[in-house]
Symmetry: C2
Subunit: 417 residues, 2 copies
């Protein structure tokens, strides 16, 4: 490959983005519905292409969760189709006008939402991301520039062919959905240097992929590295709720970024409450690793190391630390947290308010499970990812986060004195 | 220098940012007022330090605008002091809660504005940027991490010493204002790699500085490279207004990024209107460079090349192109523009609306001079810069653009099913 080839692709994407940006919402919605119909019509071909990827995976000895992520069965194809229809039902963010104000000289100044332009999405094994990402980008008037993983290359190539045909079927440019011609790493590097043609890069995948992308990109990257989510149980917490919330945050789906990884518990209640929580979690196979004070209460616990406090286990393991007060809890979060999601369980008004104001993570909760840190659960509709970057978007990213706000200024002949 | 030294500075800045983020607005305002008083009290010392920079500049043979930018006389010191007091009067953006909504399970989801954290500002000769940038960052609860130009090193060192003492005088950490220990380029490179400690980089200066910073930064950069601003005079424009607006946009202050650089004019009115505009501009010494059609009307004009259409002259030069219609004007802007500011002069409702909706520049105007593309003029208060990056901020950046919005979620014991 050469950078000239990347540039040629970039120009095509940029041209399509101009066409797409001025397309009314009903045409973008029609494209999504046509995509849904086309996926349904080509279901057998999709499964056949996917079978090639699965055979490659088998030949490489891939098993378990890794192989499962690759798979497109009828249920997953149905979920992709349903996802497209759900995105159609979301409000169109493009064109919304905000905050119009009149200046003393009569100029009217407002902001208008517009698509970001071309969104580069770099992801790994799951081929369903191809459809989800395309849906959110097209809905918000953006060109999606996709680079899926080599593991899913047959599935992704067919899905993109189907989606591009659907776009053209409603009169939109097929180039509203671009992809790299090869899954070689050299092409990713070229994409990450294509600053004039790509407006933002959203990597989705493991921490090593995200660090690779961030280190090499000249284009702004919106990302989160990991989710080391904390729950702090304050001295005044409701014990029954605390036990249920801790169980939910750790056990309901331990392999995701909004699961609790470290429990902080106030020293005044730890001697009685910690054994009750440990009992509830142990019944589901959770391993606890505690600070020295926690091990005095539950001596069977392994000792937590510095590494444990930094760890995103994504597994049925929980670090536990006893703290003297709210400040010590917030210090721990500031030191070891990943700016993802933290929750305080407390009935103390001032402590809840201080936690919500002072903790600088993307999602800060009171008396709720960290598992609610999710675009769907928080009412944003579908989500394209989660940002802990603090620039542009912070927390779950919905359709609005795929837009920017330009200023519009309406005058009647004003000049500057 | 070593990266460990950078890391030590970074840690100090991050620690100060935690303290600053929970400081009430009245203390941040008190710090700005103390800074203003301290600058007034140390006026003679500031001028003496500045004299050393000016002597260095003279020794290097620096003259004209370059030397003028360095200079701190009484008027400029007064302006810095007045600027601090004006920022105090702006509303505090920190803590504002937006868009609270209740989910079906009773969770209350909202967003709360918080400081970005630590803001790296890389700038060139003007020492007054030291004070302006510090004021906006501290007001919005952010640590300012400054790297001024070597030309102004004596002035900047003293200003920073004065401002840090003022911070400490009101009980805030002096480290809320950080600076690099040397103006060596190696230190800039270290700063641009200090991803864990700096949240955003805002470069202010010439295009080459900004390209250097963007190419090397691992931290998100908010920037604009240049302002190639267009005015399009539509067939239905009011001629008197058009002549005045063109004159204002080109002549009132030609050396700034929101001055007009290219005039697009509808072919239906060009034969009569262009000579009138040319006459008004020529009286102030503006040189016109035109397309072939424009030169048929005014044969004395030089021919505009491709380079002219890309040029940010920052001078009394104007490229002129005659276009067939609105679409050709918007195509020209999309091809040659810099996403900064464009204005349509038109009395045609549909054309104005299409221009405002379809042009994707940061500031899109109708019937007003491009010179209004400025935070102060647009009602944002003081401005820290202008962004054409389309991520996070787009257009003039005020205090709100130095904040991000975290999600806050208030529950009563909810768990996810």
């Amino acid at each position: 490959m050469s950078y000239e080839q990347m540039e040629a692709l970039g120009r095509r994407g940029r041209a399509a983005s101009r066409a797409l940006a001025k397309t009314p919402g009903r045409i973008r919605d029609a494209a999504l519905l046509a995509m849904a119909d086309a996926l349904a019509a080509r279901r057998e071909a999709i499964k056949a292409a996917n079978a090639l990827d699965l055979a490659d995976a088998d030949a490489r000895g891939v098993t378990g969760a890794m192989r499962d992520r690759l798979k497109l069965d009828d249920a997953r194809i149905d979920a992709m189709i349903a996802g497209l229809r759900e995105v159609v039902a979301l409000p169109d963010p493009v064109g919304e006008v905000l905050g119009e104000r009149v200046r003393p000289n009569g100029l009217r100044v407002a902001q208008m939402r517009m698509p970001l332009g071309v969104i580069g999405i770099i992801y790994e094994a799951r081929p369903n991301v191809t459809v989800d990402a395309a849906a959110l980008c097209i809905k918000s008037g953006n060109v999606a520039f996709l680079r899926g993983g080599s593991e899913a290359k047959h599935s992704n190539a067919l899905l993109i062919e189907i989606l591009r045909a659907a776009l053209e079927g409603v009169g939109l440019p097929g180039d509203a959905l671009m992809s790299l011609p090869s899954t070689d790493r050299a092409w990713i590097e070229a994409l990450l240097q294509a600053e004039p043609w790509i407006d933002v890069i959203i990597p989705r995948g493991g921490e090593s992929l995200i660090r690779f992308v961030t280190a090499r990109s000249r284009i702004p990257v919106i990302k989160h590295y990991k989710g080391v989510c904390h729950i702090f149980i304050d001295a005044t917490a409701d014990w029954d709720k605390a036990i249920e919330i801790c169980h939910n945050a750790k056990v309901q789906r331990p392999g995701v970024c909004n699961a609790m990884e470290t429990l902080l518990i106030h020293e005044a209640i730890a001697p009685e409450l910690l054994p009750m929580i440990a009992e509830r979690l142990s019944a589901d196979g959770v391993e606890l690793r505690g600070c020295p004070a926690a091990r005095e209460i539950l001596p069977s616990m392994a000792e937590a190391t510095e590494e444990d406090y930094h760890a995103e286990y994504l597994d049925l393991i929980l670090a536990v630390r006893i703290v003297a007060d709210l400040d010590e809890a917030m210090d721990h979060i500031a030191t070891y947290g990943s700016d993802h999601t933290e929750s305080i369980l407390s009935e103390d008004y001032s402590n809840v308010q201080r936690f919500l104001e002072e903790v600088r993570s993307a999602v800060v909760m009171a008396n709720a499970s960290t598992r609610f840190s999710d675009g769907g659960q928080m009412g944003l509709g579908a989500e394209i990812g989660i940002s802990t970057t603090r620039l542009h978007a912070y927390g779950p990213m919905g359709l609005e986060d795929l837009t920017c706000k330009k200023y519009i200024v309406k005058g009647t002949g004003q000049t500057r004195g």
